[in-house]
């Protein structure tokens, strides 16, 4: 579940920041809608793989594993530039990555044993992260059945 897309589709925005070329998130509306979606998935016996750049707004009980992806500044700069981000938005994101803001938020918001920092610079990193998450998923299933 791409939560950014979910928020966009459900109009979970309370305004727009033109300077940063981004929408201002309506967290309460988003969480209320997600609560229903997570409950529905649980009722149907399904798991959710969610991705979002904000992690601290979600209730802790929703997630069993939190992967914090990290990239080197050179690689991240190229990616953001390729996306055509305005300079201010790019700088803020770069600064956030350098200051490991998301990682700190994740560590402050979830139990330390479920938060894992992983590199995401190359395709090999991506494959390794996917493999790791899938192995963890299988282990979780075997532990809970």
């Amino acid at each position: 579940m791409n939560i950014g897309k979910f928020a966009e589709e459900n109009k979970c925005y309370e305004g727009r920041d033109e300077e940063l070329d981004t929408n201002v998130l309506d967290e309460d509306k988003l969480l209320d809608l997600l609560e229903v979606a997570f409950q529905q998935a649980a009722d149907e016996g399904k798991g959710i793989v969610a991705d979002f750049h904000v992690c601290e707004i979600f209730p802790e009980r929703w997630f069993d594993l939190v992967l914090v992806l990290r990239a080197t500044t050179e690689i991240l700069f190229d990616r953001l530039e390729a996306r055509g981000y305005p300079e201010k938005k790019r700088s803020e994101n770069m600064e956030s990555e350098i200051m490991q803001v998301i990682l700190d938020e994740a560590r402050a918001s979830y139990a330390p044993e479920i938060v894992h920092e992983v590199p995401s610079n190359t395709v090999e990193d991506l494959q390794s992260n996917v493999q790791r998450a899938c192995s963890w998923w299988d282990q979780w299933l075997s532990d809970h059945t």
Binding site: G45, K46, G47, H53, C55, P59, N93, V130, H144
Partner: protein, 142 residues
């Protein structure tokens, strides 16, 4: 321990109450003077704002879920969507059916992954390539 409001929309379902989060005084005034049931409106607002409507956050240790939930997070541009999509694609058979994945399906999965990763490497990162990949993959499946 974090606390969050359980719900801001329990009774009114946001009908005509778009200001509910931002300005409770305005909401109170609006509802009390315009609603047919001002007392009901007042009670609703007290309930919403009450501490009883807050829940303590807690880890998912005693979960009753049959499948786990994973959050992939990070700064924009680190590859969250690609990673989450790849995990979801790999675990999809597990999520939707209990049948083992056939050899052909596993081979197809491997080819799809290689194609996806090559595509990412050649065209850049972000949501666009994955969407394109999904379309390509959908055509292959057809």
């Amino acid at each position: 321990m974090k606390r969050r409001r359980r719900s801001l929309v329990p009774l009114w379902e946001r009908k005509g109450c778009s200001c509910i989060e931002s300005d409770h005084l305005l909401l109170l005034t609006t509802l009390v003077f315009s609603n047919r049931q001002p007392l009901h409106a007042l009670i609703s607002i007290i309930r919403i704002m009450s501490d009883d409507n807050m829940e303590e956050d807690r880890p998912s240790t005693a979960t009753s879920r049959r499948r786990p939930n994973i959050l992939i997070t990070g700064t924009p541009g680190v590859g969250k969507t690609s990673t989450a999509a790849s995990i979801a694609v790999r675990k999809r058979p597990d999520e939707f059916t209990q049948k083992p994945v056939s050899e052909n399906a596993a081979l197809f999965q491997l080819l799809a992954d290689v194609f996806f990763h090559s595509f990412l490497e050649n065209t850049g990162k972000g949501h666009g390539p994955y969407e394109h990949w999904k379309i390509c993959r959908g055509k292959q499946m057809l």
